[in-house]
């Protein structure tokens, strides 16, 4: 599988308050689920938990590498901009490189999330193991 430079199919995520509530558990004094508290802390609306973006990238990578991400994958992300209830994210990835590691091939992917304004909200790198039997062509 010659995947170097490959752009992964992107994912679209609508960030509703209901989904944030399900992710973070509704409680008072939470910047994720209490709009008044979020405003007190300087945010215009409740924020999605940054961890939700790691879940989106995990989905992107599981679609790409399957079991080789679920067992043996890694993910490193920096959260650079808040994601608010009502935002729409696009989750993207592009293969950076591949290297042999203990008899298997590890694939590294640049990953990032963008909001509906085209602004990056999170950036990072994810890796996973190429499926067995796949040979470099």
């Amino acid at each position: 599988m010659n995947t170097s430079g490959l752009v992964l199919p992107s994912l679209q995520k609508e960030i509703s308050q209901r989904k944030i509530d399900a992710y973070s558990v509704v409680r008072p004094k939470s910047i994720h689920t209490d709009p008044d508290w979020a405003r007190q802390k300087g945010f215009r609306a409740p924020l999605a938990q940054a961890m939700m973006s790691t879940a989106y990238v995990s989905e992107l990578m599981t679609r790409f590498l399957g079991a080789g991400f679920v067992r043996g994958g890694t993910l490193s992300m920096i959260f650079i901009k808040p994601v608010y209830a009502g935002d729409r994210l696009t989750v993207r990835g592009a293969v950076k490189d591949k290297r042999r590691e203990d008899g298997v091939t590890r694939v590294s992917v640049d990953v990032w999330c963008e909001n509906q304004h085209g602004e990056k909200t999170a950036v990072g790198t994810a890796t996973g193991l190429e499926p067995p039997g796949v040979e470099e062509k």
């Binding site: 961890m51 790691t54 989106y56 679920v70 067992r71 992300m77 959260f79």
Partner: protein, 140 residues
Amino acid sequence: MIEFKPLTYEALKVGEEFVSDEHLVTPEDVETYAFAVDDHHPWFFGDSPFGGPIAHPTLLGNQALRLRHGRYIVHAGLHAKMEFEFLEPIRQGVRARSRGTVVDKYERRGKPYMVTEFVTEDENGTVLVRGRFTQMLFRG
């Protein structure tokens, strides 16, 4: 008995260790998570290459992220960085527990941060996930 105190930069100690309660990973947890992140992969609801249904690899991230809540009152914080290593699939029906250690705290541009390393294990001591995260603390 735990005596909870407000989380402040000053109160937090590098080297401080946390442990979560044990959590049984249920199909309902996975269904709720699937709704929250809109990821309904068939491996979460039926058979998988690992033998039976598994959970999203990031499902237990909040168990780790909330470790400090087991000792401190935390009213707000921002997540700055997250690193995961997914070592084994999270099978539905396992009882998982996370342990963490504060490995650093620092101030940057007047804002306080804490860095925690964690492992999440099943009831047999198998490490499922490990990683490291950085959180910004709110003052006041």
